[in-house]
């Protein structure tokens, strides 16, 4: 089994008009994805933000839940929030893991995307760590998608009209479950 980590990118991501923007950190993106990542055995959950004040906000949230009063009130939260790694750029997450294989996620289909069954086989074989990268806003910018070893299949809707508007928190939970749930 390979080491698996996740990253949530706040820059460079797209807005509704497909312009490259920086998004603000959302508190529940820290909590929910940390809890899902830790439950599914991921080693690290990187928060990528280029602005120092935003990284400090994330750090205060982490401190509250790993060492402050939050840790005393809900001790179950500590191990999950302890897996947060707050860094400036995706390169920092890549360096921290050595030479990971970067897998990006997108709600848009790509003709060469990696299916979840094949992805499970890859995770179970020997190899470098895998870094699964999620985008905030309207998804990862092309510059991030292009540097990935693989793009995972999108999570598809069963609806006839194809409506698909999952939160990144929900998409991350579903993707961890598809890749890492016990079978």
């Amino acid at each position: 089994m390979r080491r698996v980590a996740a990253a949530l990118v706040h820059y460079p991501v797209l807005d509704r008009g497909r312009q490259v923007v920086t998004t603000a950190i959302t508190n529940l993106d820290l909590h929910d994805i940390a809890r899902s990542a830790h439950t599914y055995g991921l080693s690290d959950y990187f928060i990528i933000h280029p602005i120092a004040a935003q990284r400090e906000l994330a750090q205060r949230v982490q401190d509250h839940w790993t060492a402050g009063s939050g840790a005393r009130r809900i001790p179950d939260r500590s191990p999950a929030l302890g897996s947060l790694r707050i860094v400036s750029a995706l390169e920092d997450a890549i360096s921290a893991l050595g030479e990971p294989e970067v897998w990006v996620t997108s709600a848009q289909a790509d003709k060469e995307s990696l299916g979840f069954a094949d992805a499970r086989v890859r995770l179970e074989s020997e190899g470098p760590p895998v870094l699964i990268v999620f985008g905030t806003g309207w998804g990862l910018a092309p510059a991030v998608l292009e540097r990935a070893a693989f793009q995972l299949d999108p999570v598809r809707s069963p609806r006839a009209d194809g409506y698909n508007h999952l939160s990144v928190r929900a998409a991350a939970a579903i993707i961890f479950d598809r890749l890492l749930a016990p079978r």
Copy 2:
């Protein structure tokens, strides 16, 4: 395919000490679970709260995203938030659906719980609507669990230490995916 709906219960649920309590509505429980439910084709997402002021809060959130400025800013959000049904008690959700089969969810294993593969077969066969019930806080009170036709298998962690602390938003997304994703 049977009609499937979901309900999020704020009373009666358990607190950390396994006392029966009423929890407060969390904004992202409305958004994230509505978005996941609508993406996976559920017909309705019931918010169950016994306190009128809390129901009014949920109603204001729904109005903002289905008719107010939120609907204009992010139109994709409207169909999801439009599936919200804000009611006082689980009985109201049951009445609204006719005579649904009630399926409860829990992070705790139950020796007679329904596996996800069997659950998919049940959903694909003919039958009454299915109402999937989630609890806030530390989970549904025994009074709710006892009245269910089925309790779904818990979402299990692959970790050796069994750490499992998913948010209800993540658990709902995973359960909809396991039951309803295209195969």
